[in-house]
């Protein structure tokens, strides 16, 4: 077979597509959208699982089992990244309970945070690791930039020793973007986590372009404004044209808006419901809006 320029380009494009959209068996649900971590090329499903509030259920055995069911449904749907923080009450131990119950799924991509006075960072990360029951975390992020200078030093040293795989920082609800940007420019971060959705779009101005420029993966937190956005939209009719991008619910509408940003790697909606976790992961399949559709979506929500 003679390989022409055209056939080479076609084959290369096909290989690239295979990386992004894995093949699925006929009749099987479509595989979720995958995005690459720029610093390593590792592919991750574009919808993860947040645990803020939803997994903080204490010692309640019924609710711990419900959380384990959510984790099980998340992995069944093809999800990988679970994100938590020592600030989230009992969420870490509830994740650990769910993972134990599921036989420690290999697909897990564990994303944690350090959130304490600078000197206590290593002890807190170790405590978090025990709660999860994992040999090491894939990613540890500095939560809301608390003690970031010392923590980043610790995290980069841990990464160099192979005790974690990736380093990141987080912010939420648009706080401290100036400092966030400075740190992104000065340090070789693997991940940044920030708030972004159809109404909170400040990150589009500087942080998302900078993440793309600096080769940093982006985790989007509070995609539904902690449920307030989906609640607000609950009584509103989904526009007919939402079907053009395969959005069958407001949650999918919002997630598809977020994921259509090429610099977004993973969005991490939180939920207590198995049907919602499936719906969320499904949002990362099928078509995504283009620039014109994105503008239409944002305008529609703004005008409601």
């Amino acid at each position: 077979m003679i390989i022409t320029r055209r056939t080479f380009v076609k084959a290369a494009a096909g290989s690239a597509a295979a990386l992004v959209l894995p093949e699925t068996a006929p009749g099987a649900p479509p595989a979720p959208l995958m995005r690459a971590v720029p610093s390593s090329g590792e592919m991750l499903p574009a919808v993860g699982l947040g645990t803020w509030i939803t997994f903080n259920v204490g010692d309640d055995p019924v609710l711990r089992d419900e959380c384990a069911d959510v984790i099980a449904a998340f992995f069944e749907a093809g999800g990988r990244m679970i994100d938590s923080s020592p600030m989230y009450g009992s969420s870490q131990s509830v994740i650990g309970y769910g993972l134990e119950k599921l036989g420690r799924p290999e697909a897990l991509f564990s994303a944690e945070k350090v959130w304490t006075s600078a000197a206590d960072g290593p002890a807190e990360i170790e405590q978090s690791r025990r709660f999860w029951g994992v040999p090491r975390f894939d990613l540890v992020q500095v939560h809301n930039l608390v003690g970031w200078e010392t923590h980043l030093e610790t995290l980069f040293a841990m990464k160099a020793d192979g005790r974690i795989r990736y380093v990141g920082i987080t912010t939420s609800e648009g706080r401290r973007h100036d400092l966030f940007e400075q740190i992104m420019r000065a340090h070789p971060l693997d991940f940044v986590q920030l708030t972004y959705n159809v109404v909170d779009r400040e990150a589009e101005e500087r942080l998302l372009p900078l993440a793309a420029e600096r080769g940093m993966a982006v985790i989007v937190n509070r995609p539904f404004r902690q449920g307030a956005l989906t609640q607000q939209l609950e009584g509103e009719t989904l526009p007919d044209w939402a079907a053009e991008i395969g959005a069958g619910s407001w949650a999918q509408f919002i997630l598809k808006f977020i994921l259509s940003q090429p610099s977004v790697t993973v969005a991490i909606p939180a939920t207590t419901r198995v049907d919602h976790v499936r719906e969320n992961v499904t949002a990362a399949t099928g078509p995504l809006p283009d620039a014109a559709m994105r503008d239409r979506m944002a305008a529609y929500v703004r005008d409601l």
Binding site: I53, V57, D60, T272
Partner: protein
């Protein structure tokens, strides 16, 4: 905390209303039928305030001290702190309240529950709310009976009944015995308010009435 002005009360709420109220259901189930004993202790406390037999001050103070210590340890420290890390810093305050009550009661003649002025009478009403009304409210807020907050088991009715009984008291340590239950009710009311729970007004109203009663007493002097 930087940019503190950008934070709302909602940003500090770490759990859902469902988790919060199920916590009381689990706690009640874990200690049943101790609720009967703590309620009986509360009613006995009311009787002691009404009859004022010899050493009534000592017994009331010791009962309240034991219940504050128990609620602080069993509910705040062992249960609530699991979903709200800030409560780990609050639970010792209940221990301190128990200590203050024990010291106040054990010191002979330091606490007597003999005041029947307007504030004292309001105190009896507040005490009745904590003891009798509080466990009866769940159906009003569409919650199961199992989530009832009972005096001596849950912190809100314990703090409310304590404030009520303290309004009838006189003695050297009295001013030190009000702040912890009042601050607790403020914290609890704000938590419920942030959760969007209509029951929020109950602890806030109890605290407000106590403060108003104390102010009335001061004005009347």
């Amino acid at each position: 905390m930087s940019e503190w002005w950008t934070y709302r009360l909602e940003d500090f709420l770490l759990f859902s209303p469902r988790v919060y109220w199920r916590m009381f259901e689990l706690h009640n189930a874990a200690f049943w039928p101790l609720q009967l004993l703590t309620l009986a202790a509360g009613l006995a406390m009311m009787l002691l305030v009404a009859r004022r037999p010899r050493d009534h001050g000592l017994w009331i103070a010791l009962v309240l001290a034991a219940l504050f210590a128990f609620v602080g340890w069993s509910f705040l420290w062992n249960r609530y702190a699991a979903i709200n890390w800030a409560i780990a810093y609050v639970a010792p305050a209940f221990g301190l309240q128990a200590l203050l009550l024990a010291i106040g009661g054990a010191a002979h003649g330091r606490l007597t529950f003999d005041r029947r002025d307007m504030a004292g009478r309001l105190g009896l009403l507040i005490m009745a709310v904590g003891l009798v009304v509080y466990p009866l409210v769940p159906p009003l807020f569409a919650r199961p009976w199992a989530s009832a907050e009972v005096f001596g088991i849950a912190p809100d009715p314990t703090a409310i009944a304590a404030l009520g009984v303290l309004l009838t008291a006189s003695g050297g340590l009295i001013p030190l015995l009000f702040p912890i239950p009042l601050l607790w009710l403020l914290l609890s009311g704000l938590t419920l308010h942030t959760m969007g729970d209509p029951q929020a007004w109950l602890p806030l109203l109890a605290a407000g009435t106590t403060i108003a009663a104390l102010a009335l007493r001061r004005i009347a002097r």
